[in-house]
Symmetry: C2
Subunit: 85 residues, 2 copies
């Protein structure tokens, strides 16, 4: 594996797992007041389109990273809607 | 431009501009209690690596989207550190 591919892999891993601590924090605190609803609406839509893009260009890493990121971002979006300010 | 490229462009635009409403919200409220510090630390590191990846594979869209996303995510990270709980 070349260096660029390895860096891309680590980058994808980090920008995906980054959402895990936010899910845990919001679940524990049951507070999502400071999170922007518009941010997570736009972000989920964008990640969904990245997944579609990955399917169209047939790139499994793009598909997989974005499915996981979408799930995590959707959980945060649901928390934001559920845990009213 | 083919459909996949167009979808990739819209996806990149959405996952980047998504951070703008969060920057505005946090700036206005001066409150970042519900944002996860670890999320933004991991996310900024990941986006920085995406930018390096873009430079290595010489893909201008990857470089540009990630520079803008990195700036926005760094602003939120600074807000998180500055606006103490």
């Amino acid at each position: 594996m070349d260096t660029a591919k390895l860096i891309g892999l680590v980058a994808g891993f980090l920008t995906t797992v980054a959402f895990v601590p936010q899910v845990i924090k919001t679940w524990r605190s049951k507070s999502a007041r400071d999170l922007s609803l518009v941010m997570f609406l736009l972000f989920c839509t964008g990640v969904f389109l990245w997944m579609i893009y990955g399917i169209m260009i047939n790139e499994l890493p793009v598909i997989l990273w974005n499915i996981i990121t979408l799930l995590l971002a959707l959980i945060i979006l649901l928390f934001k809607i559920r845990f009213k300010d």
